[in-house]
């Protein structure tokens, strides 16, 4: 029993001992595993912290780079903004033709876009400095700046060399200016840029800031461009004024001359009117007795009042013929007077000018045949125009009559009809003695007769061409002659279609 008890208890103790050992081993294993896990996690946390630190380090680097970049970006932005402002101002300045307008274009927002709060444009006038634009300063302050500049001896002359002044490039000669702008006007930064033309230094542009200490290099260049633009605008105005004054003088002279001409024209027109009235009145007065003279002469020639001695009959026939030419002359004069005074009624209708030319050719055929003159027609088949048929026929008759009169035996006359863009051109060309350049301008004048043997031999009224001219003009057409001595003459007229 004892043995059994001993064995049992020994086994139990052994079992318990082994079990305890096992538990301790398991716990130790688990503990060690946990410690490993914790270490692993600690490692991970450390790595994470390292990563975070690294990230933060990168963030610092990003911030540093971003700061530098933002600085550059800011400069670039300012440059872009100031250039855009300058571009706008340049456009305004280049379109300004008055000095006052130049300065009114320099507005506060442009100065602000250029990066400044203050702007003063100062020009030299009668030995003194005058502020033309003042932005960011009241009148008293502007005056104070001007007085400060005037204190600096030979201020503008000294600027010819420097062209642009800013606090960092100020030589000792401008100490007075620096002190004044910095200490009295309390500007933290400023730029003084010269306005200069071919005439010399005209003034300065002063730009300043009460808050910004630094002036970027790019802005300095922009301000130099600005002052050059102002200089050019002032120069342009001077040139424009010069041009304008000359133009004004010229205009005054032209106006005077025009007035003189107008007066002369009015006088001529009055005289012409009086002449037309006179001619018309005289012609009317002449026509009535002339009709009686012609009537009686005709009856006498026809021996209605009894037989006449032959020498008297010859003389009466001459009276009858001369009466015909006088009637024709008076009719022409009356027509001219009517056209000139606008009393002539023009009966516009569709007229075939080619047919009309042929008809006139037929009408004067006997005269041409007498001198064996060949008539050439250079015309299309037909060409319709709007005109007074009778009047245009008279023009053609007058021109062809003239041509026949001046064309020698066995020569030719050419009537050409053609159409241009919006008018019809008719010419009557002869192969006669021609007209000198001197006479060419006068042939359409009333009673003008070229001094040549033909005219001495064959007397005319001197009204045919004048009447033709008046008729063509009344149709809103044009008439002229082309000729040279010995080369025949070409009379051309145009009529609107």
């Amino acid at each position: 029993m004892d043995f059994l008890r001993t064995v049992f208890f020994t086994d139990i103790s052994l079992f318990m001992g082994i079990s305890s050992l096992l538990v301790v081993a398991i716990l130790t294993f688990l503990y060690l595993k946990k410690i490993d896990e914790i270490k692993e996690r600690e490692d991970k946390i450390r790595k994470l912290e390292d990563n975070l630190e690294e990230m933060d380090e990168q963030a610092r680097l990003i911030v540093k780079t971003d700061l530098e970049l933002s600085q550059t970006q800011e400069e670039l932005d300012r440059k872009i903004t100031s250039l855009l402002a300058l571009q706008r101002l340049s456009q305004d300045l280049s379109s300004s033709l008055e000095e006052e307008k130049i300065f009114s274009h320099i507005r506060p927002e442009i100065i602000s876009e250029l990066g400044f709060e203050l702007c003063l444009v100062v020009l030299k006038e009668k030995g003194s400095l005058v502020a033309k634009t003042s932005i960011g300063l009241d009148n008293k302050e502007s005056l104070n700046v001007l007085l400060g500049l005037m204190k600096q001896k030979d201020f503008l002359d000294l600027l010819i060399k420097e062209r642009i002044l800013y606090p960092n490039n100020l030589s000792s000669s401008f100490e007075q200016v620096r002190k004044h702008l910095k200490e009295e006007i309390k500007l933290k930064s400023f730029i003084v840029s010269v306005i200069q033309t071919k005439e010399g230094v005209l003034g300065v542009v002063i730009l300043g800031s009460f808050s910004e200490e630094e002036i970027f290099k790019g802005v300095r260049e922009t301000i130099e461009i600005l002052s050059t633009q102002i200089s050019q605008a002032i120069e342009n105005i001077a040139l424009f004024e010069q041009l304008y004054n000359s133009q004004q003088e010229l205009e005054v002279k032209i106006n005077e001359r025009t007035r003189d001409l107008q007066r002369a024209l009015e006088e001529i027109s009055k005289i012409n009117q009086l002449k037309s009235q006179f001619v018309s009145a005289v012609s009317h007065e002449l026509r009535t007795p002339l009709t009686s003279i012609k009537g009686y002469a005709s009856l006498l020639v026809q021996e209605k009042f009894g037989k006449l001695p032959s020498d008297i009959k010859v003389r009466l026939e001459r009276i009858n013929q001369q009466s015909d030419s006088l009637v024709s002359m008076i009719n022409d004069l009356l027509d001219i007077a009517r056209i000139e005074s606008g009393r002539m009624k023009i009966d516009i209708q569709k007229v075939d000018i080619v047919e009309l030319a042929k008809r006139v050719g037929d009408l004067l055929f006997p005269q041409m045949q007498e001198k064996n003159i060949h008539l050439k027609l250079e015309c299309p088949e037909s060409l319709a125009i709007d005109a007074d048929k009778k009047l245009i026929e008279r023009v053609l008759i007058n021109l062809l009559n003239n041509a026949v009169k001046f064309t020698p035996q066995d020569k030719a006359i050419t009537i050409a009809v053609g159409e241009e863009k919006d008018y019809v051109k008719v010419s009557v060309k002869d192969e006669g003695i021609g007209i000198s350049q001197e006479d060419l301008g006068n042939v359409f004048r009333e009673f003008y007769k070229v001094d040549n043997p033909v005219n001495k031999e064959l007397k005319g009224t001197g009204l045919g061409l004048s009447l033709a001219k008046n008729i063509v003009k009344a149709h809103k057409g044009d008439i002229w002659a082309e000729s040279a001595l010995g080369e025949g003459a070409n009379f051309i007229f145009t009529l609107p279609r």
Binding site: L52, R60, V63
Partner: protein, 390 residues
């Protein structure tokens, strides 16, 4: 539900009378309503010209109420202008408006201001408050506190604020025939039109950030158990402590971003000062315990606004007009690229009219009112508002 009509007109004329006439002609050509109830006006004209605006508007359009303010830069017709006048005309809407001057007890005064506006409301369901204000910095918190008391902590509110101490362009405030340079004007919209607001900054978080371990109201005393200024010192060195210019340059470009619970973005806070005890002062109360250094990336700045514009526009059934107020700092940061933001906005809003401009500080509540952050000044941020038919 009554039909509403909203249209706007714009003029770049320098003369107020001519500008009002030109803008009114444009407005009238877009609007079918014979009578205009409300005109909201944004302008940038010299003071002497601005004074002529109320009379000119009354003469030409004769609306029931005119409210507005000057902005240093205007956006209209999908372009950016430095001079001009925008008139937005509303017809068939319900609203009440008021004017407010700075007083000694600002919180109480601004609460009274809201009550005065509410009295006109006659128990109508109010939907949105728009205000333009110019005060000293010290008065802003109390002004907003009064508005919160009057309208409720999470009431949708937006507007423009210009600080008297910092602004180079004095903000002119317009209410009917009055033009003031200090105070506030406000307008409370009722049920119709439907108005939706989005705000944001577009700034991106940078670095490992920190945890606010000690703070009190608008002061952060410690970040990660170290004096708060060390957070900036760590990134920018000693120079930021000693150079005021450097400090100013850094804090507007790299403000702090506060992570708010239930809000995906960061709320921007610009340090006002580094104090001698190592704490940092802010304009508004400190929001949370997690902060990050924020950095502006032009692309993100533009995208944030254009995404907000898209979201905001899509939430209104019939959008009629989009208002957009950007902060001056964002404008400066975008610099010559600002026109790209306008182009992105143009794409986002499409045919809907877009007006607004650059202000100094935005003012308002976050659009997600469940955050319960109340009203505060949004710094380096934008507000985008869409209004339309309910």
């Amino acid at each position: 539900m009554s039909n509403i009509d909203i249209a706007f007109g714009f003029s770049r004329h320098y003369s107020a009378e001519e500008a009002v006439r030109e803008a009114s002609v444009q407005l009238r050509s877009k609007s079918a309503f014979p009578k205009i109830d409300l005109c909201i006006v944004f302008f940038n004209l010299p003071l002497e010209e601005a004074r002529k605006i109320p009379y000119s508007i009354k003469r030409v359009l004769n609306p029931r109420t005119v409210i507005g303010c000057s902005l240093p830069f205007l956006v209209a017709e999908h372009a950016f202008f430095k001079r001009g006048l925008i008139i937005i005309g509303f017809s068939g809407i319900e609203f009440s408006a008021g004017i407010f001057s700075e007083e000694k007890d600002m919180a109480e005064a601004s609460e009274r201001f809201i009550w005065r506006i509410l009295r006109q409301a006659q128990h109508k369901r109010r939907s949105f408050f728009l205000s333009f204000a110019r005060f000293k910095f010290s008065s802003v918190s109390n002004f907003l506190k009064g508005i919160e008391r009057g309208l409720g902590r999470n009431f949708p509110f937006s507007g423009i604020f210009s600080c008297e101490e910092e602004s180079t362009h004095p903000l002119l405030l317009l209410h009917n025939e009055n033009i003031i340079t200090s105070g506030a004007v406000g307008i409370l919209f009722f049920d119709n039109p439907d108005i939706f607001l989005e705000t944001g900054s577009g700034f991106s978080p940078l670095g490992k950030g920190g945890r606010v371990t000690s703070f009190s109201r608008n002061l952060i005393k410690e970040i990660d158990n170290k004096p708060a200024v060390d957070f900036y010192r760590d990134y920018f060195g000693e120079k930021i402590i000693h150079s005021n210019n450097y400090f100013k340059k850094v804090i507007s470009r790299y403000p702090l971003g506060f992570k708010a619970k239930d809000f995906s973005g960061y709320i921007i806070g610009i340090p006002r000062a580094f104090n001698s005890d190592g704490s940092i002062s802010f304009l508004k109360d400190v929001l949370s315990d997690e902060i990050k250094l924020m950095i502006p990336v032009r692309h993100s700045l533009i995208n944030a606004l254009s995404n907000a514009a898209k979201d905001c526009k899509d939430k209104i059934r019939k959008p009629r007009i989009c208002f957009f107020f950007d902060s001056f700092y964002r404008y400066r940061l975008l610099g010559a690229f600002y026109y790209r933001q306008i182009e992105a906005l143009k794409e986002a809003v499409g045919e809907v009219g877009l007006v607004g401009g650059v202000s100094f500080y935005g003012m308002g509540t976050l659009h997600s009112s469940r955050i319960g952050l109340g009203h505060f000044i949004l710094e380096n941020s934008f507000s985008f508002i869409t209004a339309g038919q309910k």
